[in-house]
Subunit: 211 residues, 2 copies
């Protein structure tokens, strides 16, 4: 039992250290000895848990994908599709700011030396596409809006705000994301429907009306 | 004279081949022998023109930055800031689809194994920021719009459409970009001002009114 707990901790430390090193050096140059040293474990322990760098990168991608899926499930869909998208985007930008594994999972997908088609980026992109198509079907989108163009804009912009969030303070990138939605929603949402509430800090007690 | 012409051609072939190999393998794994073979020149000629991989990458970045600057200059600013932004974004997405040097210039900026702060991405990002701040000063933006949030959205989305354009057909990504602007402009542009004409194909003879 104690050994199992220790193994789980070691795996977690390795995944986190790998995520940090992938982000700093890229997949191709990331060195397994550097990763094991940063995780505070022996190279033998690293090879026991992850026989190859590819398997370590897959674990980072899987962990990151599960994190995004948890954000989506946690928010639920009570307020309709667009509200869910606004809320999840806020949670995702905040999580990207503080979670190196989530960040590395997204970045590995765009690393030309890795060529991975799996990972959170693909899942998130498909989820946003599907949600916007459904929102269109439910009459939530303004007439003539292309769910595909909106999906590219949302996915690309959220990634942009997430990168800013990891470099600067979280709060300023949350404010930028709120301003992004204030910019996009007039063109995106059907005027006849109640417009989604803009994403303030998650703990905010009172609803805010969109500007 | 003949020798100079040949030298210019050789440099051009090397820069183009390097751009393709950087895009395929990433900066860290890109191999100089592969690049010289693809350019159809000897490794000796490669080393004569570019003594290091870093210098070759810088040449790709410089060439790509000059390409973006040319697009901006070519469009001029007769129709105001937002119209210029719409027009340049159309030209840039179209150019990203067909120009591997331009594409690689942008991608090198995000390659963690390269860590380059120069290149077209930074220039373009600062240009879009400055243009939107000026447009705000000139009363072109809707009240309360954040030029910073709009700049992140535009830069990130144009990069997203550019990536799509290189993988799929150019025309479908131009259409998506047009739909993106149709989505963004209602929230971005001051309602009292003439709204920019949406970006159709560059050669279109007649102005089109925004939908």
């Amino acid at each position: 039992m104690v050994r199992q707990v220790r193994a789980v901790r070691t795996r977690g430390a390795l995944v986190r250290a790998a995520a940090e090193v992938f982000a700093e050096d890229g997949y191709a140059l990331a060195s397994l000895p550097v990763i094991s040293r940063r995780a505070g474990v022996s190279t033998g322990a690293l090879h026991f848990h992850f026989p190859s760098k590819d398997l370590l990168a897959r674990e980072v991608e899987t962990a990151a994908t599960v994190s995004v899926q948890r954000l989506v499930v946690r928010e639920g869909a009570g307020g309709g599709g667009l509200q869910l998208l606004v809320d999840v985007s806020r949670d995702l930008v905040a999580a990207l700011a503080v979670d190196p594994v989530l960040r590395a999972g997204f970045e590995l997908g765009g690393d030309p030396s890795r060529k991975s088609a799996e990972g959170p980026g693909r899942w998130w992109c498909e989820w946003v596409h599907a949600l916007l198509r459904e929102a269109q079907g439910a009459g939530e989108l303004a007439r003539g809006v292309s769910p595909e163009a909106a999906a590219v804009a949302v996915v690309a912009s959220v990634a942009g705000f997430g990168r800013l969030a990891s470099r600067h303070r979280v709060r300023s990138s949350s404010r930028l994301l709120e301003q992004f939605w204030a910019l996009l929603l007039p063109g995106l949402a059907a005027p006849s429907r109640r417009r989604p509430v803009l994403p303030g800090p998650r703990a905010a007690g009172t609803d805010r009306t969109p500007r």
